[in-house]
């Protein structure tokens, strides 16, 4: 029977040592702790639980600190994102919003974060990008990716490697400003042929709510085509064009300016969403760690009291054996 108990114990210890996730390991320590009692090895069980408690407490402190850091970064960048919101509205008022436009060369610009631990926003962006890719790739249309951010790259490179045109990472190393984003936009415009650019990002609505959004920027030829066809941009012809040699030159500049403005806003909004998501992820992590700590404390007290009781029983039974 002792051998069976040992064997059972051995099997339970193996996942304990090898699993990196302390949460699952805890559940398996609860039973062996009590089994070890039966074999008379008492002090080690409280030691094991105490080590777990120490590591969980450290994790809780770290995640709490990360939440505070994310909160302060969020406050700083939220102001800038809000101020930049006026920038894309004139373009949508002029050219309308055409996500269902049918063009030959689509480019999906996916904006994601460089660092992790920020909840599900990067996965959401990638899911939306993949679905847009499916909608827009047909027999005579093609769809390419331009990826901003490490996390998006890691996810999309797995199954869409051949469709990726350009990857840019470490955007937030220097303070995000319009000059940097316009250089980026320039890079994309120069190196990628497109008829329509679809920018996918998470718009910051509030600290707990991030809305996946896609903004569409059309190339000047497509703008002309759509305005001739009527529909949303139908009345573009009624606008007089001032400046530049020809209408197409001005429309070209307009499309480039629109792209850099929409990108600037998108990058700021995504950064805000990243910090907000990180805040809520770290908050739930600290709370989970707190719960785990409570459970571990109970286990610890139980095993401690049980070992004391066993010692007392041994002493008393020993004493009564001597007497009687």
């Amino acid at each position: 029977m002792a051998m069976a108990a040992l064997r059972r114990e051995g099997r339970r210890f193996a996942p304990l040592v090898s699993s990196p996730n302390p949460i699952n390991a805890i559940r398996s320590t609860l039973a062996p702790a009590e089994e070890q009692m039966g074999l008379g090895v008492r002090s080690i069980s409280t030691q094991v639980v105490r080590n777990r408690m120490k590591s969980v407490r450290n994790i809780q402190k770290i995640t709490k600190a990360m939440k505070m850091v994310a909160a302060s970064k969020l406050r700083a960048i939220q102001v800038r994102a809000e101020n930049s919101r006026g920038l894309w509205q004139p373009f949508t008022a002029l050219l309308g919003d055409t996500p269902s436009v049918n063009v030959k060369k689509n480019v999906i610009v996916t904006i994601s974060s460089d660092k992790g631990l920020c909840g599900g926003i990067n996965s959401t962006s990638v899911k939306i990008s993949r679905a847009l890719h499916k909608i827009n790739s047909g027999p005579d249309t093609e769809c390419k990716y331009v990826i901003l951010g490490e996390k998006g790259k890691a996810q999309l490179i797995r199954d869409s490697k051949k469709d990726i045109e350009l990857i840019m990472t470490e955007l937030q190393k220097n303070f995000l400003n319009y000059t940097q984003v316009s250089v980026l936009a320039d890079d994309i415009l120069k190196n990628v042929e497109f008829d329509a650019l679809r920018i996918v990002f998470n718009k910051f609505q509030s600290v707990v709510s991030f809305l996946p959004t896609t903004a569409t920027v059309l190339s000047p030829e497509i703008v002309e085509r759509e305005s001739e066809a009527g529909g949303k941009i139908g009345d573009l012809d009624s606008y007089e064009i001032e400046g530049g040699e020809t209408k197409s030159e001005v429309l070209q500049n307009l499309a480039e300016f629109q792209f850099s403005c929409v990108m600037f806003n998108a990058v700021l909004e995504n950064a805000c969403s990243e910090q907000g998501a990180r805040m809520s992820a770290m908050d739930s992590s600290s709370r989970n760690a707190g719960d785990m700590l409570d459970r571990l404390t109970l286990t610890y007290n139980r095993t401690r009291q049980a070992s004391i009781t066993t010692e007392l029983i041994e002493i008393i039974s020993g004493a009564s054996a001597l007497e009687g």
Binding site: M68, A71, S72, R75, Q78, R80, E82, N83, S84, R85, G86, L87, W88, Q89, P90, T92, A93, L94, G96, D97, T98, P99, S100, K127, I128, A131, K134, I135, Y178, V200, K203, Q205, S206, V207, V208, S209, L211, P212, T213, T214, A215, T216, D235, S238, Y239, E240, I241, E242, G243, G244, N253, L254, F257, C261, V262, F264, M279, S280, D283, S284
Partner: protein, 210 residues
């Protein structure tokens, strides 16, 4: 689960005193925007989306975050509604003014209520906003100006500085420096850069004096 987290996060921030994150920040209303109920979005796009990815919610599009612009009124409106935006701030948001003068590439252009719809490319120069007897002058780097038929004007610029913040001495220095660079420039790129510098500084000069 998300709602539970949200509820907890919000109640936490109202009950515990985070020194750097007051509860009021979460409930602030944004001046340049409206929440996402303005329209239901492009139906063709949503249909195409549902066919491909029925389990994922379709993403929102920019027009759903914007208040729709008012239609063209039948009578001439008395005031021009101006939105003057920069990447860093919305200088004027739905401001009702009498006239704006913008520095288009073809010269200074005045915009009054009822102006014909226009898309104007702007060069570095003086922008003035006239409201009654009040005139506000800014020096803007280039940008675009749209005038819509409903007497809404959108002016987008990359940088704008009120005139009184510009130092005339620096302007002169910059002008002479760039003129020198232009004369000694060798490659086309250098020449173009120097030319841009000269243009901007002479525009600054004339804005300050004129």
């Amino acid at each position: 689960m998300f709602r539970q987290v949200a509820h907890r996060l919000l109640t936490r921030s109202t009950t515990t005193t985070y020194p750097i994150f007051p509860a009021t920040t979460t409930l602030r209303s944004f001046s340049t925007e409206v929440s996402t109920d303005a329209s239901s979005g492009d139906s063709a796009f949503i249909d195409a989306w549902k066919k491909v990815a029925p389990n994922i919610d379709p993403p929102k599009t920019p027009s759903q975050y914007m208040e729709p612009r008012p239609p063209t009124p039948s009578t001439l409106p008395s005031k021009l509604t101006v939105n003057f935006v920069l990447p860093y701030a919305a200088e004027l948001s739905k401001a009702e003014v009498d006239m704006v003068i913008v520095p288009a590439t073809t010269g200074q252009m005045g915009i009054l209520p009822g102006h014909v719809p226009t898309i104007a490319e702007l060069k570095p120069g003086l922008l003035s906003v006239h409201e009654g007897n009040d005139v506000k002058k800014y020096f803007i780097s280039s940008g675009f100006a749209f005038v819509h038929s409903n007497s809404y004007a959108d002016i987008l610029a990359v940088e704008a500085v009120p005139l009184d913040r510009i130092d005339p001495a620096q302007v002169q220095k910059g002008l002479s420096e760039f003129t020198q660079k232009l004369n000694s420039a060798s490659s086309d790129l250098d020449k173009a850069e120097a030319q841009i510098g000269v243009d901007v500084h002479s525009a600054l000069n004339s804005a300050l004096t004129g």
